[in-house]
Structures are given as structure tokens and as C-alpha cells.
Amino acid sequence: MTGAASLAGGPACPAPLSSTTRVLLGHGSGGKLSAGLLRDRFLPRFGNPTLAALGDAAVLENPGGRLVVSTDTFVVAPLEFPGGDIGALAVHGTLNDLAMMGAEPRWLTAGFVLEEGLPFDLLDRVLDTMARAAAAAGVPIVAGDTKVVERGKADGMFINTTGIGTQTDAFRPSPERTVVGDAILVSGAIGRHGMAVMAAREGLRFETTITSDTACLVPLVQVLQARLGNAVHCLRDATRGGVATVLNELAQAADVGMMLDEPALPVPGPVAAACAVLGLDPLYVANEGVLVATVAGDQADAALAALRSHDLGRDAVRIGSVIPEHRRLVQLRTAIGGRRIVDMLPGDQLPRIC
């Protein structure tokens, strides 16, 4: 409390000011400031009976079926970027992870590490985004936590979300179900999120109109599930490391080879241009609203039609095939007819000198 009291401005005021516009250390104290933070900012936005009970833990009715649990922690700078913010990522990312397992998302939890000095209006915008994203998916945030750390100890805020969903035998996409002969599909244009964040973060001195593709893929997966069921062999959201990394992981997990078709890759012009300037490969750039699917080869057209029937999948294309040769490797046929490996990167892509 000493930190909060001194920040609040003087010996005459033992109770901290409530009119502050920023997060204070005292907001993590567990005292009145903490209660006010919950009451004024979190509960009105995330309000639902389970959360409002404010118990030490949420109590949930068992819906039956297998439970699927996923947790993810979100760090991004800047917190807001063209097309989204950390709140959108935190909800979409975890819901998408559940959806890729064929699960129906049921509940979310959210944990926040807030940095002292974080402006409330920024926090409010992020919470609004999270509330909207969760409501749109029909998934309540049933438990949560906030901590406050000293200025300089966090990059504005970090968010952890955990999602719980249920899964049935009728739809169980899984990496090892990918087999030779499968078609490899992507649901839309690649490379947008990573380049949008990079342009915002680095203050790149060229104009770009790239926006993040952050989106909840649950409805898109529902369309696939309804039309194809288990002919969908595997689903992955192509987040960190991009499409190339996801496919490498898949090729290794399923012990298959893959051949991609470079001209088929849906790289938007501005992404291609920004990548060319910086010496980056869009195949390795993060997406937050694109899924990669392997589907039975004879169901490829049906799967594409299903994806394209939904707004999130209108640019879906087939980018390659699962092959028996060079197992555990991803190859690519170049536009001019050459061939190369699309390997895992040892670390982040690095912008090159010239």
C-alpha cells in the first residue's frame, strides 16, 4: 500500500485517489483499489453469473463429452495495431486452438499482468475488444485474475487465456491423421498479422495498408465439420512461424512429405512488397485468422467450397499435397518450375542488410 499511497499524492490522503487515469501498483494490492478495478472495468464488460459470483474458483456444469483444454499467453508490442489489439489475439488465439482440435469452445478464463502506469483508456479498449470477441463466439469468461507489476517490468500488459471445450468422435482432426494423398488447404491470405505488427512496431518508413487478420475461426471450422466431418484430417492455425512452420510440424508428426505449389500461395500484394523490402518470407510470417487444413484428396473441392461459403474462408485455396517422398520435409515447386525445401527456421526471421 505504501507505493499506492505515495503515488496517490501525499500524507493528507491515506485513501488512494480513485480518479486516476492509469493503473497504479495499488490496483494489484487486493485492497479497495483492486476491488474497484474489478467492479468498474472487468465485471461490467465480462459480466456473467459464474464470474459475478467472485468465488475463488468458477463452478461449471459438466456438459458431457471429452474435455479439451488450451492455454496461451499473449505478449505483443504495440498493444494495439492495425486490425486488432492484444485483447482480440487473446480471445481468438485460444478459441482457435480449441477449434483446431475439433472442440466446441465452452468457457474462457483470462489472467492479466498489468504494468504500473498503463492508461485506463487503453485497458478499457482492450477489455472491450475481449468482451466483444468472447460474446461473438458465445463463450463466457468465467474466471480471471489481475496482477500489477512495477513500471518497466511488463510491456504494458500481458494476457493469459485458457479455453475449455468439448469434443466428440464425429469430428477429431489431429496431426497424425494426415496421410499421403491429402490436399493441403489454407483458408485465406497469408502474412497479414505479422507484417501489420512489424510495420506498427518498427515504424517502418514506408506506407502500408496491411491490417492484422485476427479472427475467431470457430464458425469456419463449424462449416467444415458440418460438410466434411472426419474427412478433415488435421487443422492448424498458422500463427507463430507461419504456414511453413505449421506444415513442418505436421510433416514430422504424421511422418509424411509435402509439396507446395508456389504460385498458389495467397500472398496479398502489400505483404509481398513489405516482405520483399525487408528480405522476409511470407511463408514464415504469423497469421491470427488463417487455418491450414489437410483433407482427404477426393474431398478437396468440397472442402474448398465449404470454406469459401463463409466470409472468413472466401479466399481459401489448395496450396499443395501430401506426398510419400522425402518424409518429414516440406518442399515447394517454384513459379518457374524449380524445387526447394521449406525448412523450419532456427529462430526469428531477420531483416537483411540489402
Binding site: 517502418l204 520483399a276 537483411r352
Partner: protein
């Protein structure tokens, strides 16, 4: 995208491949000078597509690769100083020095930052008057104008907390060294389009004439490279040895005069050590005495730092075209992008990394995964 898509056109590329195959009546050995070109060749599979009549040797034009180990060690040393903000282009961060790299220095508390322009480093120096901002000025003639501009700007602003660790090299002396080498196999060159955008091609004319080699100033997209190869092969078949310009949309004979003048104002020609190759006389750029105040080497007393290159790394032979990357005994075993022995395995433009990342299935080596 204009100026990009048309140079990736598959039909044009196929026509050029057919032309190269039809023109070459015997085996010719060409060197593409620039690492960006190597990257395109291996990434697009051009080396496979053009057939056996034309062999591409990958030249020394990767700035990350030729920066000598001791210069990396000097960078690492200065980056650990608490008062220093060390700034660099991104791909220098993973280059291994004798004991560590800039990523590890940063993890251990060094203030190492990636910048996209050297002028960003000057801005950092203005914003942090109590810190010393050092920029790692590496590269060929391509990056020299922007780096010269940074020094010039700092000079105009009267900044005393900005300096550059210079490791600039120039292309023509390296080509001369390759051609003078007794076991040289190179019969023609694709010169680096970006370098010539700055410098023009006048300085290549004496080389073509003296050594009787065709030199084609070439761009970086697949169609550029294939057209450059086709032009060089045509010259060889016809017994010509001229400097030709494939990259006409960017390069003029006298280059970019303003950029050249700026480079000449700030830098002078010096002897430079090339990683794996050794010292080549008059092959680099150093700061003129008038700008000595911006020389990080003097400011932080780095000249005493010396380094020996690891014996297992044959980067020098690769950079001189004597050895194909996969012919090196350490390739893919002791040396891989995750644990590189030498710089050509680090930079995405390095010949070893290009072979490792893009070409493994074509190569007669065990699959290391």
C-alpha cells in the same frame, strides 16, 4: 506489383531457360557476385533448371559472410559496455563471434537494437544524449551511401555520442582477387545490380578487358538472373568480353552520382580483411580523417581485439568459389544454421545457408533431420 511480378513471370523464365540451354554449346562457369542472387538461384531452383552446361559458382557478395571474425568480436565487445546502445541490421545479430553472438549479448543485458536504417541510429543518439550509440556499418557499396549519410548527419548535428564500427568492402577488388587466383575457374560474372545502382559499371570495364571476361550487371528476381546468365553465355559463345547491363531499370553507367559523392566525402579506400579470404589491398572503405571522431574502433580502443577463424570452417574456399557448400566436410553436421561455424551458414544470403535451407533434397548428403 510493378517491377516485381513481371520479373517473376514463369513463361518468361521458361523461355530464358530454353535460350540458355540452346545457346550453350559447351560447359561454362559463371559466378554470381552477390548473395542476394545466390539466394534467388538456390531458392528458385535455377541452378537445376539451367542444365549442366552452365555451372554457377557463388561469389563473395554476402556482407554478413565476409565481415571478419575479429570485427564481429569487436562489435560484441563494445555491445557489452553499459553506456552503449549497439545498433545493427537484423541479420548481423546471429553471426557467431569467437565465443558468443549479439543475441546472447542482449540476453545478458547488453542494449542491442535492430534498426532498419543507419539514420535510425542517429535518431537514437539524439534521443539518448547520455548514452553512446554505435552502429555496425557493414556491407558493400550498396549500404555505403546510407551509412555515409548517417555519419554526415551526425557530423552536421554535432553529435558526440554517435560512432560507427566500419567494415565496408567493395566488389571490384574481390573480383580481381578471384581472377588473379591461380586455380580460378570463373569465365564470366553476374555483377551485383544493387552495387552498380550506386557505383555504375565504369569500374568493371577495365576488368572485363584485362581478364577477357564478360560481366553482366544483373538484378535479383528469377527473370533477371536468367536473363543475366543468357547474356553472359551468349558473350562467351561469341567470344565477346564486355560489360552489359541487364538491370537497366535501375542501373546507369555512372551510377548514382549524389550517392557516390557522399560516399567519397565520408569514406576513403583502405585495405580490408575478408572473412575466410584474408586481406585484399584497397578493397574496403574506412572513415576519412575528418570523420575520425565517429570511428568506434578508435573511440572504444578496439584495434587490439584479434581473432583466429575456426579451422574446420572452409568459408574462404566457398566464398572464392573453390568449394561448393555441401562439399565442405562440416556442412550439415558440425555446421548448420542452428550452430553455424562460419558466417555463410548464418545469413539468409550466405551460400551455405541457401544450400542447407533450400536445396537439401537435391544434394548427395544424409538428411540431417
Amino acid at each position: 506489383m510493378k517491377y516485381l511480378a513481371e520479373y517473376q513471370d514463369p513463361d518468361l523464365a521458361r523461355a530464358l531457360i530454353a535460350r540458355i540451354r540452346a545457346t550453350a554449346t559447351r560447359r561454362w562457369v559463371l559466378m554470381e557476385v552477390c548473395g542476394g542472387q545466390t539466394h534467388t538461384i538456390v531458392r528458385q531452383g535455377i541452378d537445376e533448371l539451367i542444365g549442366d552446361r552452365v555451372e554457377m559458382i557463388h561469389g563473395p557478395g554476402c556482407p554478413v559472410c565476409v565481415t571478419p571474425l575479429e570485427q564481429i568480436d569487436r562489435a560484441l565487445h563494445v555491445a557489452t559496455r553499459p553506456e552503449v546502445i549497439f545498433t545493427s541490421f537484423g541479420d548481423m545479430l546471429r553471426v557467431p563471434g569467437s565465443h558468443t553472438d549479439l543475441f546472447h549479448v542482449r540476453a545478458e543485458g547488453g542494449d542491442v537494437r535492430v534498426v532498419y536504417s543507419p539514420l535510425d541510429a542517429v535518431d537514437l543518439a539524439r534521443a539518448h544524449p547520455n548514452r553512446e550509440v554505435v552502429f555496425f556499418a557493414v556491407g558493400f557499396e550498396t549500404t555505403a551511401p546510407a551509412n555515409a549519410m548517417a555519419v554526415w548527419r551526425a557530423h552536421q548535428l554535432g553529435l558526440t555520442n554517435f560512432s560507427v564500427l566500419v567494415s565496408h568492402v567493395t566488389v571490384p577488388p574481390a573480383m580481381t582477387a578471384i581472377l588473379d587466383s591461380p586455380d580460378n575457374r570463373v569465365q564470366g560474372f553476374l555483377a551485383a545490380g544493387h552495387v552498380c545502382t550506386v557505383m555504375g559499371w565504369e569500374e568493371y570495364e577495365p576488368l572485363a578487358e584485362r581478364y577477357r571476361v564478360p560481366i553482366v550487371v544483373t538484378g535479383f528476381e528469377p527473370v533477371d538472373i536468367l536473363e543475366g546468365i543468357a547474356m553472359a553465355v551468349a558473350q562467351l559463345e561469341q567470344g565477346r568480353c564486355e560489360v552489359e547491363n541487364q538491370y537497366a531499370r535501375s542501373v546507369r553507367r555512372d551510377g548514382n552520382r549524389a550517392a557516390r559523392e557522399l560516399v567519397a566525402r565520408v569514406f576513403r579506400i583502405v585495405d580490408r580483411q575478408w572473412r575466410g579470404v584474408g586481406t585484399i589491398p584497397a578493397s574496403g572503405l574506412g572513415l576519412r580523417p575528418a570523420f575520425a571522431a565517429f570511428d568506434a574502433e578508435a573511440k572504444f580502443d578496439l584495434a587490439g581485439i584479434r581473432a583466429e577463424e575456426p579451422e574446420a570452417c572452409r568459408a574462404g574456399d566457398v566464398l572464392r568459389g573453390r568449394l561448393k557448400p555441401h562439399e565442405c566436410p562440416a556442412f550439415g553436421t558440425e555446421c548448420a544454421p542452428e550452430h553455424p561455424l562460419g558466417a555463410p551458414m548464418v545469413s539468409s544470403e550466405g551460400a551455405c545457408a541457401a544450400y542447407y535451407n533450400y536445396g537439401r533434397t537435391r544434394l548427395p548428403i544424409a538428411n540431417p533431420t
